[in-house]
């Protein structure tokens, strides 16, 4: 990321990956699933993690400095726990190895992962179960956190159990919804844009207005939009130069009139994860989050298509910046394991591994250095990391009373889009 390029300290690069370490740990091998275990074992050993008794033992990375490993700036504390750890998260949001075998062997916890489709789904689940949902970790999007805290759904984090939080770039801490990170810590962040087939859509598209025009014209009945009210309505607001957090009734009325009466009939599907269906050939243009659009390239190649024909466009002139966060719900049966896992996922190597899987910026500090060291072959980095000028156009969502109106607009659009 460009913001970090400017801050980057060349000395750190050496500290991060001394030759001895690099020799031991072939980077590529580390990144490829098969030998990842071996790779990780090395790190674990280097960090001096030898606890096998399953207690809440804490091994610090102090040992690291003695054998010349990167230390100082990076904290690699591994706390172990025991028992089961249940995570409720978004679809395909962690490297399966990490939430499977590696968590079992490193943290001594057995993981279960379930998925939800929207923040509202998550809130409904937690609210209706009255603290008996049995989940230990949930991953809500930032702005929803204050609401969830108010409703008494989240418990405070014990920050002493998450020492690796120092690895997170301060830029991604202390957000508006949780200024002191009492309840949440950044898992990763991303943005919204669209993805289209250049063989089916002749025009060069660059803005949200282009997206809307194409959906209503050339690609009518062949387009999908994200199934979340703020994004769906945001598309209209961004295209028309309106703040997507607007509470202005006139703007929202105009959005409703346009989206429900004129736009909805052209939509083929409300689909938050279009990558697989893009590969099946179901849509020729789709609104998508950057990580999912990046996955679409892989899927399209898988299906025997030509990924080169597809183009990703970051929403313009403005677009979203969302951040999903690790939180622990009230009534979590195993908070100790939850803390241990969150802390573990903030170790740079683990974090980058997740990043390579889902394709979202994980908020680690000095990201470009980390990528250069750990994952130099990362493809389509421009879909994960954005320059200063791009980040400037991204805006975080604020939950306002107007959200109900936006949800209503999506709801009506869905009804209207029906055949």
């Amino acid at each position: 990321m460009a913001t970090e390029n400017s801050k980057q300290n060349p000395k750190q690069l050496n500290m991060l990956a001394p030759d001895s370490f690099r020799e031991k740990l072939s980077r590529r091998a580390f990144l490829q699933g098969g030998t990842a275990l071996a790779g990780f074992a090395l790190i674990a050993a280097a960090c001096g993690s030898s606890s096998s008794d399953g207690g809440a033992t804490t091994d610090t990375a102090a040992a690291g400095s003695t054998d010349g490993l990167a230390s100082g700036d990076w904290s690699r504390v591994i706390n172990t726990a025991s028992g089961e750890l249940a995570m409720y998260t978004w679809g395909d949001y962690n490297d399966p190895e990490l939430v499977g075998a590696l968590a079992a062997s490193t943290l001594s916890v057995t993981m279960k992962v379930d998925y939800y489709a929207s923040n509202e789904d998550l809130i409904t689940k937690l609210a209706t179960s009255g603290g008996t949902s049995g989940f230990d970790i949930v991953v809500p999007t930032g702005p929803y956190i204050s609401q969830m805290v108010e409703k008494g759904l989240l418990q405070k984090l014990d920050k002493s159990l998450i020492p690796n939080m120092v690895n997170v770039d301060p830029l991604y801490l202390g957000q508006a919804w949780d200024t002191t990170n009492d309840y949440s810590v950044c898992k990763n962040w991303g943005t919204t844009g669209f993805f289209y087939d250049t063989t089916k859509i002749s025009k060069e598209l660059t803005t949200w207005q282009d997206f809307i025009d194409t959906c209503m014209g050339e690609a009518s009945g062949q387009c999908s939009v994200i199934d979340a009210a703020p994004n769906y309505c945001g598309m209209y607001f961004w295209a028309n130069g309106i703040d997507w957090n607007t509470e202005d009734a006139a703007s929202i009325d105009a959005a409703e009139k346009f989206l429900v009466d004129e736009f909805a009939q052209h939509i083929k599907a409300f689909d938050s994860y279009p990558s697989t269906k893009l590969a099946e050939g179901a849509y020729s243009i789709a609104m998508a989050w950057n990580g999912d659009a990046r996955q679409a390239y892989v899927r399209i190649a898988d299906a025997g298509g030509t990924p080169e024909n597809w183009k990703w466009v970051l929403g313009a002139p403005d677009t979203e910046l969302w951040m999903d966060n690790y939180c622990i719900p009230v009534g979590a049966p195993n908070p100790e394991a939850a803390h241990a896992w969150i802390n573990w996922d903030l170790i740079p190597e683990i974090s980058i591994r997740d990043l390579q899987y889902h394709g979202y910026h994980t908020g680690m500090k000095n990201m470009s250095t980390l990528i250069g060291e750990i994952a130099p072959d990362l493809e389509k980095g421009d879909m994960i990391f954005f320059g200063d000028d791009q980040v400037k156009t991204m805006h975080t969502q604020v939950i306002t009373p107007a959200l109900d109106r936006l949800i209503d607009i999506l709801n009506k659009s869905k009804a209207k889009a029906g055949g």
Binding site: D114, T124, K125, T128, K151, S275, Q295, D302, K416, G418
Partner: protein
């Protein structure tokens, strides 16, 4: 009839007429009536997303109801009813020839085979079968490319996915089996002599079919329509997976009100109006069914006249034509046979695709990468653990067989010991392997799949046991002790069948936290006991509702056809009610309970909507996990999991069939009571 001492004695033992239905009444009151009453109450509130449960009751209004009649939402209602009516009609049209062929044109042995082939597909996960339809319908898929290559369709490929047509195809597919079975049962019961008499009296094939066969099959068609039309109207999965924006259905829309839109009042109002719409269209259907015979009987003199003329003409022709025409008539069974084969192929296409795609080399279940590999099977299983389990299984079975051999020649060993020894060793192997070594957990390398499959079985099994017990008892009470209570009870059962699952789901999900306050029941459901901690007991409740309603209907239908005189005779001969029940009634309803149990088990195993909302982290079942996975990319190992679940279920069924055959029940008898008919 004069009162004997025995009858007087019997009367003294009698409690209230609904005594046997009491467990069901309590169950439905606790887990259906009360929770649903809350949801109905919600429909008069207003949305308030700042509340923990997002409904405000400070000013009650019918605003949500008027909102449903708004053109935008009402369109979806019409669309759903259209899809359901067309699909039900198609199911009758496609299913009737198959049922007719199986009932009249094939020997006994083939009947069972055809029926099994119709039933077996419904034992693969409903969800994965629906997802599998994306494979042949994908515009970039192999089939589509082939069609383009042949020049039969345009360069854009098949444009069916994300349209109402895709939903229509899959919904016919998903419910066809539930139509064929009752049709078959009804047709199979028709006395062949009636059809022969009709023909002897000069009626042609067509006249016999419409004049004799079809009216007699009426109850079967009614049962089939009820079993397909009602669940179709509330279907959530098919539209969500295949429908896109254009093929949206009410079920999915109601669900999105409760979760996504957080608008519970609107969701409740929609659900209530949907129930009304379903009842209304069923009413219209039944009135139409009453009117059609009326009209036809009014028109009958003219029709009779016409028939007589046609018959005379046919006779005239027959005189001139050589007997060679006999061979021409034999074409019909062949056409029916070909049709049946085509329908069976249709039923098995998605299942074959599930198996095929579990060997996909690529990273997505629905997209064939062009190469096959066993990597997802390898990824899912831990080879050495698996081998260990299989070896332990085989060893125990071999021991069982060996002991059986050794015992065979001896007279001093009771017969049942040798005949059950293999079954017992199988169960022993299952228990030793399962509960002691937790193989279901360790043979899977991948997080959660083994647990999900195990949870599915425990949940479905428990719910089925509950459903068979309370449903069986109330079925007996309904048939044998009718009274004023019958009306209320049947209305409740019917409501349970008609209520969309998502409404039950939300009602139960919000009910369980409240239940803590109820003494005794609260303890059971909050403390969690034994190995069934972590929400499995909630799944038993949730899944047992629909299943027990189905069992109730089947058992009632079974007993309604049998005279009560047998039980009375037993009573007159001095048998106390308990004994009469055990020795007379129970054997009579046993096959109906087995059939109901099987159907319940299949339904519970597939339950996704209720289970998703009420399951906890520890009780995620296979459909719940898969529904979660459909939110993003479905990896091919889900195909592996589904294939495995299919194999395990089929072996469990086979095992059951073996036990039943030992119990002396014929396979066709079980099939006959499978849907109860009437």
């Amino acid at each position: 009839m004069t009162e004997t001492v025995a009858t007087r004695l019997r009367k003294r033992f009698h409690g209230p007429k609904y005594l046997l239905a009491l467990p069901a009444i309590i169950w439905y009151l606790l887990f259906f009536a009360l929770p649903i009453a809350f949801i109905v109450f919600y429909s008069f509130g207003t949305k308030d997303s700042t509340k923990l449960l997002p409904v405000d009751f400070s000013h009650l209004s019918t605003h949500s109801y008027s909102a449903v009649f708004d053109e935008t939402f009402f369109k979806t209602f019409r669309g759903t009813l259209r899809i359901a009516v067309i699909a039900t009609t198609l199911c009758v049209l496609i299913g009737l020839p198959v049922a007719y062929f199986a009932a009249f044109k094939v020997p006994e042995k083939w009947k069972a085979i055809i029926l099994a082939a119709v039933v077996v597909p419904s034992f693969t996960s409903f969800l994965i079968r629906t997802v599998a339809w994306r494979i042949p319908l994908a515009p970039n898929g192999t089939f589509s490319k082939w069609l383009i290559g042949m020049g039969w369709i345009g360069q854009n490929g098949i444009q069916i996915l994300e349209t109402p047509l895709a939903v229509q195809i899959a919904i016919v597919y998903n419910y066809l089996g539930f139509m064929i079975l009752p049709l078959f049962v009804a047709l199979d019961r028709i006395d062949v002599r009636m059809r022969e008499a009709s023909k002897d009296l000069g009626a042609g094939r067509v006249a016999t079919f419409f004049g004799v066969t079809l009216p007699l099959a009426g109850p079967g068609i009614v049962a089939g329509v009820l079993l397909t039309f009602i669940p179709m109207c509330g279907d959530y999965v098919t539209a969500t997976v295949l429908g896109g924006a254009k093929g949206n259905m009410i079920g999915a829309m109601i669900a999105s009100q409760f979760s996504g839109a957080q608008n519970w009042p609107l969701g409740s109002a929609m659900a209530i109006l949907m129930i009304a719409a379903v009842l209304l269209s069923l009413g219209v259907g039944f009135i139409a069914m009453k009117i059609v015979p009326l009209v036809s009987s009014l028109a009958s003199p003219a029709v009779q006249n016409l028939r007589r003329k046609m018959h005379a003409r046919a006779l005239e022709q027959a005189k001139h034509v050589k007997p060679s025409t006999r061979t021409k008539i034999e074409v019909l069974p062949k056409v029916l046979g070909v049709w049946t084969v085509l329908v069976l192929v249709f039923l098995f296409i998605p299942i074959l695709l599930v198996f095929l795609h579990s060997f996909n080399n690529g990273g997505s279940f629905t997209i064939w990468s062009g190469k096959s590999s066993t990597k997802w099977w390898g990824e899912l299983f831990n080879g050495s653990e698996m081998l260990g389990v299989l070896v332990r299984f085989a060893a125990l079975l071999v021991i069982g067989v060996v002991i059986k051999r050794l015992l065979k020649g001896r007279d001093n060993v009771p017969k049942f010991v040798s005949s059950w020894i293999v079954v017992v060793s199988f169960v022993l192997a299952l228990i030793l392997n399962g509960f002691m070594t937790e193989w279901y957990r360790t043979i899977f390398d991948f997080t959660g799949i083994g647990d999900a499959i195990r949870n599915s079985f425990i949940a479905a099994f428990g719910a089925t046991v509950i459903a068979v017990i309370i449903g069986g008892m109330s079925g007996v009470a309904l048939a044998r002790r009718p009274g004023r209570w019958t009306t209320f009870f049947m209305a409740t059962v019917f409501l349970i069948l008609v209520t969309p699952e998502i409404m039950d789901a939300v009602a139960l999900a919000t009910w369980f936290p409240r239940i803590k306050e109820i003494p005794l029941v609260g303890i059971i459901f909050t403390s969690g006991w034994g190995p069934f901690n972590g929400g499995i007991n909630k799944l038993w409740v949730g899944q047992s509702l629909y299943a027990s309603a189905v069992v109730t209907l089947i058992v009632r239908a079974r007993l309604a056809g049998i005279d009560e005189s047998l039980e009375e005779a037993a009573g007159d001969l001095g048998a106390p009610p308990g004994r009469a029940f055990r020795q007379i009634t129970l054997p009579l309803i046993a096959s109906a309970m087995v059939a109901g149990g099987l159907l319940s088990f299949a339904l519970c195993l597939d339950n996704a909507v209720i289970s998703t909302l009420i399951s906890e982290a520890g009780s995620t079942t296979f459909p719940v996990a898969l529904l979660g996975a459909t939110r993003s990319t479905i990896k091919p190992f889900w195909g592996v999991g589904a294939a495995l679940l299919f194999i395990v279920t089929l072996s469990a069924l086979w095992f059951l069939a073996v036990i039943l055959r030992r119990g002396g029940d014929s396979a066709s008898k079980i099939a006959a009571t499978f849907t109860g008919g009437s």
